[in-house]
């Protein structure tokens, strides 16, 4: 079984190698992604929940003297994230159009992002957790720069420099963490780090936590390190935005849950006020910024920044309910934002513009597209029946239970739900309803393939919405009680 976990990383890389040597890009990449999805389902349901802990382990020695090994393994939370990654990968490759320039490179870039993020989730060694994530940096730069729309060059530069700097700060934080371990115990293995922290050997300073928070935070677009995100998503081609906003961004949160939560309990407690302040910035400030957007892609880009605030709120509540809610919300938001970007890409391909002032009444001629976008909208604003709702409710419960300091953030967050209803419903109305604009009378409906690619994202969202235990029980195996 441990071979399956490695395969999920190797398959996309092998497929990209095949494409580079001349295989058909679309068929090869989509085939690899579908097999990967099957593998991740096999792993998801093959995980022994009663036994818990890390399973499917495998290890290669890299720098044994420094305690650095490439260790792969998975617990419930890992498998939830890998499932998210494979679902979004299939959907993204499915909606990927045949491009004129560098068609092979387009698919290779997507496969690299996918392999990198799966590798990051499956790594038990902190250095490899970091390294795998960085595999996405150049593909993102290429995807936005070559095939992006709008002010793509500026967006690509901004995202690359921002993410490069953010991840380097993160790397410094990780090295500092490594050095703070008393020599003789030095390791980067998450399991051993947890043990060291539990046995009281490890006393990393709050400063290191701050480095990690800034580093991971800029990858997750935590306010005020968010400004790369909306533009990058708005300008990126739809499949890249889906993978980036849906999956890659969750890496930062995943890292905080994996590293900060168990290793820095005191620092997280002490600096919780700061985190809460940033969370309020994420929800309230970015929320209002989102309301003022005049284009669909920018609205969705900003909304994905805003929703990170809820997940951070769940983390900041520092209790099981809140963090479980955050985990569920990571899964839910990943799927819903990927669906939104996929549909956004479909609309852009039909109309060539996403300005609200120019769009309107598209649902008349493209009813299925409209219906699916309606579902994505409802999911994104947290309507009951979608996993987003269950996640948000858990976050609110967890935060409320965390004590009086959380009262204001919770009120802000609840108000944030209203804000997101305003901008999402307005976006839905502006694009799909109202009088039909003459230019769009002949807009075609969504194609059959793309339709199923979106349903592939929305269906699990509803399954997890009606039966959140499916995700919660899995994710719960990773969380301390």
């Amino acid at each position: 079984m441990s071979l399956l976990l490695i395969l999920t990383i190797v398959l996309p890389l092998a497929a990209s190698l095949l494409i580079m040597t001349g295989a058909d890009p679309r068929r090869t990449s989509l085939g690899a992604a579908l097999v990967n999805l099957a593998l991740s389902l096999l792993l998801f349901f093959g995980y022994d929940r009663t036994a818990g802990g890390w399973q499917f382990l495998s290890e290669w020695k890299i720098l044994p003297k420094l305690g650095i090994n490439m260790t792969l393994g998975a617990d419930g939370l890992t498998l939830v994230m890998i499932l998210l990654a494979t679902l979004v990968t299939v959907s993204a490759l499915w909606v990927a159009p045949k491009v004129e320039k560098y068609n092979g490179l387009y698919h290779v870039s997507l496969l690299f992002i996918s392999a990198g993020v799966i590798g990051a989730f499956a790594s038990l060694d902190v250095l490899f957790l970091y390294s795998f994530h960085e595999l996405a940096l150049i593909p993102t730069f290429l995807m936005i720069g070559i095939w992006g729309t709008g002010d793509r060059q500026a967006a690509a530069w901004k995202a690359t420099i921002y993410l490069g700097l953010g991840s380097f700060i993160l790397l410094i934080g990780l090295i500092a963490l490594y050095i703070s371990i008393p020599s003789g115990h030095r390791t980067l293995d998450l399991r051993e780090l947890d043990q060291l922290a539990a046995s009281g050997v490890l006393h990393p300073s709050a400063l290191i936590y701050l480095l990690l928070l800034v580093g991971f935070g800029s990858l997750v677009s935590l306010f005020p390190f968010h400004s790369w995100a909306p533009g990058a998503y708005a300008c990126a081609p739809a499949p890249a935005a889906m993978l980036h906003a849906g999956v890659l961004k969750k890496f930062g949160l995943y890292g905080l849950i994996r590293i900060a939560l168990p290793l820095f309990p005191e620092a997280m407690h002490e600096l919780n006020g700061l985190l809460l302040l940033l969370v309020i910035g994420n929800i309230l400030y970015i929320g209002y910024v989102t309301v003022s957007q005049k284009r669909l892609d920018w609205t969705i880009g900003y909304s994905s920044v805003m929703h990170m605030g809820y997940i951070f709120l769940g983390l900041a509540s520092l209790n099981l309910i809140g963090v479980s809610g955050a985990a569920l919300l990571m899964f839910a938001h990943g799927l819903s934002v990927a669906a939104a970007f996929a549909l956004c890409g479909e609309i852009r391909r039909r109309t060539g513009t996403l300005e609200y002032s120019e769009l309107g009444g598209i649902a008349r001629t493209a009813p299925v597209l409209g219906l699916l976008f309606g579902f994505a909208t409802m999911a994104s604003l947290g309507l009951p029946g979608f996993a987003n709702f269950a996640g948000e409710v858990l976050v609110f419960f967890g935060a409320t239970a965390a004590g009086p300091v959380m009262v204001i953030p919770v009120i802000v967050a609840v108000w944030g739900v209203v804000i997101s209803a305003i901008y999402m419903l307005r976006a839905y109305r502006n694009v799909f309803w109202g009088p039909v604009v003459q230019r769009w009378e002949s807009v075609t409906d969504i194609a059959c393939g793309a339709k199923w690619a979106v349903i592939l994202l929305l269906l699990p969202l509803m399954i997890a919405g009606f039966y959140p235990q499916l995700i919660l029980k899995m994710a719960g195996t990773a969380l301390p009680h």
Binding site: M20, L135, I138, F141, L142, I146, W157, G164
Partner: protein, 480 residues
Amino acid sequence: MNTLYLEIAVVVLGILLLMVEAYSSSANKARLAWVGAIGLFGVLILSFLPQHAPAPGTASAAFVTSDLLSVFFVRLILAATIVFLLTVPSFFPVLRRSLPAEREGGGLGEFAILPIFVCAGLMWMVSAVDFIMIFVSLELATITLYILATYLRQNTASLESGTKFLILGALSTGFIVYGISWLFGTTGTTNLLALPSAIAALPEAAVTPLLFGIGMILVALSFKISAFPFQFWVPDVYQGAPTPVTSYLSVASKAAGFVVLIRLLGALWAIPAVSHQLHAVITLLAALTLIFGNFAAIPQTNMKRLLGYSSVAHAGYLLMAVASLASKMAVPAIGFYFAGYLAMTMLSFVVLQVVSEATGGDEISRFNGLGRRSPLLAGAMLLAAASLAGIPFTAGFIGKLLVFEVALKQGHYGLVMLGCVTVAAGFYYYFKVIRAMYWQQPAEETPIAVPGALKFLIAVLGAAIIAFGVYPAPILAALR
């Protein structure tokens, strides 16, 4: 085997090839490069046999050593020279155009043979433990490099490059001789191994002249490793010199300079009388070199100048590790950094050589649309740029990781913070090349053909970048 035999073998190889060259026909000059490369490869294999320094008490024992550091860098310099020689035959068309054509093929052979003498000089330099030896081997290497830098005699840029290199090289020679004489005057020795005990016995008043001497030597070494403020020759010389020479200059000659710096500082680092000042100077040097190299690279539009500034920037990261010399991981970190640096820098120069031959220029804009004209070259350059910028799973990342680790361990928080900013700047200027290759439209669509030898080099260097980045343990083990 006595370690001196390696250098002797290299010199003999060079002399033999010179004699053969005199009688070889003009069509066969490329063979000289192949034979030279194979010969050096043989020496590289010999270097893996058990080595020992000359027996204590013999005359040569006072001059050369055979420790882990020297063995490692001897191999590194041999590898760099082999890469150089393999690129030479594909460079012949450029040479033919820019050499006075009195005789068909004249001057081509020497271009393939002179690097062997540079190689011998640099090999001696990294094994040397006496300043007399360091000076002599340095001169052997640099005088030969002056000739190579100015080789394109009908190209004014190359002449300018060679002249600047000669004048500033001579200046730095002056500094090092002057410094050595002050050092000898105060301590009575030129031997690095004897230096610590000689300094310990010095009276208080002799410390200032001693520091002055060390300072002069540091100035000269800063020229060699292109540390700020003695880096100003780098962009001009790099731009004008023939591409294979630039590549060699930025790797091998810089590596030798760093080894001498490590040996000098290693001898002085723990001596209370001078350590304080040295720590401060090296830290400052590292900081300034990082800032200058990285920020001056940002506006560059010429690929050779960009790589020149990038080599200054990398000297900054290496100096970060030198400033942390007290850590026992510092020297392995530097060695590893250089192994990776060799692969990624020489790979980018190989690509540059082909691109500038095909497009007729060295500007970054010549790389426009390379992804379409030659996916192989663009992919190789992408890999090299990723490694130079420090993306994981490449040699450059592990190098930076090790350097930042030792720097943090030694408490150089300021340098580390500065390093974060300069790494981000690095992302910008290396990605500028990636942007040209993939975002921009090519000026023409014709595919670019890559000579077979260079294809082989691209494959080997590319594989090395990834192999070092995924499995660095063997390289590190060679230095511990």
